[in-house]
Amino acid sequence: MSDAQDAQREQDTQREDTPRAPTFGATWAIGKATYHASTRSRLNLAVALFGLALFAFLKLLSDASLNQDERLLKDMGLFLTSTLCLIAMIGLSAHSLYRELERKSVFSVVSKPIPRATLIWGKALGLAMTSGLLTSLCALTWSVLAWRQGLEVSVTMYQAWYMIWCESLVVIGVGLLFGSFSTPLVSAGLTFGVTLVGRFSQDLIALYEKALRKGELTVGLDLAQLGLYVVPDLSLFNLSHAVVYGGPLPAEYILKGSLLSVSYTALCLLLAGVIFKRRDLI
């Protein structure tokens, strides 16, 4: 091998060994640590096991129903999966940043050569992975129950699970946004409020339009309507009706849901990053 090649190889090795400014790697590392911390936490594990145990109750319910076992199993299965995921993600996302600040573990992380927002994005990534795991576990448990009942897992069911995960992304974004400037209790309350309004946003809009037609509008209702534009339409992610009564949904619908989920989450995380950057970490 020539001297020039040796020198080039040495240069390449040196370049490889020189610490680089972290980019996606740092976000991924924080995400992985958040995922490990969430899944190894005894409390979270207990909550997940409790949730999965509820599926056993679902089996009893469907056995007791009259010729409605399939419908009940699907409907309740999705409801349980969605509720479990949302409650877990509201709690984890609202508490996640505060825990770092309270325990002061944040100092070691943000003192590294990374933008502060990396912590927010990393946390979101880790929680998204946790939510993915939780949704998959629920789906697996449901599938075992369905298999025992002799039911097939339809494409719509997979779509519904995917949309539940997409919805949990939005909740993670909202939770981290509120968590970037308030206490866990306040941020959990606000996130729960946004989730609740988001789930019923279509009904609320319908109510507003009804009031508009009747001429019963007040300033309060106008403000509420304004709020509805800010809150995401989470009813889009609820595919229970399609699962029970309809067939698979078109790819455009799933794509629209994915886009809404990703863009709304990204917007929340950007805002959270801006707020968090300005905070004094005492």
């Binding site: 490889e16 060994d17 610490p19 680089r20 400014a21 972290p22 790697g25 740092a26 991924w28 590392a29 924080i30 992985k32 640590a33 490990h36 911390a37 190894r40 936490s41 325990r103 002061k104 573990s105 100092f107 070691s108 992380v109 943000v110 003192s111 590294k112 050569p113 990374i114 933008p115 300005r278 004094d280 970490l281 005492i282």
Partner: protein
């Protein structure tokens, strides 16, 4: 000329607490406990030179940690600035090549020391294939090889401190900023850490060290600064303490009562223990009275057995600084 590793320039930090803290124009309103103002740091300036160990000393609540947090960009200064290698401290680029140990470090309880260091190695931008080796190397340096795979929640405070030091050492930083690195460690751990810090200085790293444990600071640091009530009160080279003679002690084997009285008149304090059956009188005098004391010794034809210079210890300097300030405040003087 390359910029200094750390430059703190006229740093001020004021915390506004209470109900109206988020509203800038309402902060100055005098509303008792509803509006509280804490001036944690007031006009602190110092620089850390390349390859030196610089000690930052002060009592609890003196403003050391706030200064350090400003230096790491964790807190925005109210006035003045902190620069790391010539760059504003709050930028991520400035923190490249800086290792930081926070006071009483806490990490993710569920991770093991190796996983923790791999995480921080990743944040430092160390390539993936080198992360584990770096983690193991630095954990071994701080004596953590025996607890590599135990979750952090099962480790003691001293072990957390060691993991904290190890993460600060990752990537061979040019500047180490260590907030109370010796606290929580047993004597062996303190000695091991002192050795690590000396190795780092030998490598060429600059170190800013904040500590309460003055003998360790005295043994390690090249220069030091003392902060009290948010203000910089003293900045000097550690070697200056050894040359700073304030008192001299004269020992006599046969001092007459007249000589003792004459020396006491010069501001001396006499004590006379018996040593090896010989009457030995020691008189401690202010250094400015040394010449006159020697003249008196000759005049009284006393036998001078020893003349020693009493240098100022860091402990004494620290005590004097804190006590003097507190006394001035009690008498209504300026702090």
């Amino acid at each position: 000329m390359s910029p200094k590793p750390l430059c703190i320039d006229q740093l001020h930090k004021t915390f506004y607490l209470g109900l109206f803290a988020p509203i800038p124009w309402a902060r100055s309103l005098k509303l008792g406990p509803l509006n509280r103002v804490i001036r944690a740091v007031r006009g602190v300036s110092f620089e850390v030179e390349r390859g030196e160990i610089f000690g930052l000393l002060g009592a609890n609540g003196a403003g050391k940690s706030t200064t350090i947090k400003c230096a790491m960009g964790l807190i925005q200064p109210s006035e003045g600035e902190a620069r790391l290698h010539g760059r504003p401290a709050h930028t991520p680029e400035a923190r490249q090549g800086v290792g930081y140990l926070p006071e009483s470090p806490v990490f993710y309880d569920e991770l093991t020391p190796v996983e923790t260091l791999e995480l921080f190695a990743s944040l430092c931008g160390i390539p993936a294939k080198r992360r584990k080796a770096e983690a193991l190397k630095h954990l071994a340096r701080v004596g953590m090889s025996g607890a590599l795979d135990r979750p952090l929640r099962s480790l003691s405070k001293g072990m957390h401190q060691r993991v904290g030091v190890a993460q600060a050492l990752l990537g061979e930083p040019a500047l180490l900023i260590l907030d109370e690195p010796l606290s929580g460690l047993d004597p062996v751990g303190r000695r091991e850490l002192r050795d690590v810090l000396l190795e780092e200085r030998a490598r060429g790293a600059s170190i800013l060290l904040s500590s309460h444990i003055l003998p360790d600071v005295e043994a390690l640091c090249d220069r030091f600064a003392m902060i009290h009530q948010g203000e910089l009160r003293h900045l000097a080279e550690m070697s200056s303490l050894a040359t700073h003679v304030e008192q001299v002690t004269l020992s006599f084997s046969d001092a007459s009562e007249a000589l003792i009285q004459a020396l006491e008149a010069l501001g001396g304090h006499a004590k006379g223990p018996r040593a090896r059956g010989v009457e030995l009188t020691q008189v401690t005098l202010p250094v400015h009275a040394q010449r006159e004391a020697l003249a008196l010794t000759l005049e009284h034809e006393a036998t001078l057995t020893d003349l020693s210079a009493d240098t100022l210890s860091l402990d004494a300097l620290f005590e004097r600084l804190v006590l003097n300030t507190d006394k001035r405040q009690e008498t209504g003087g300026e702090p």
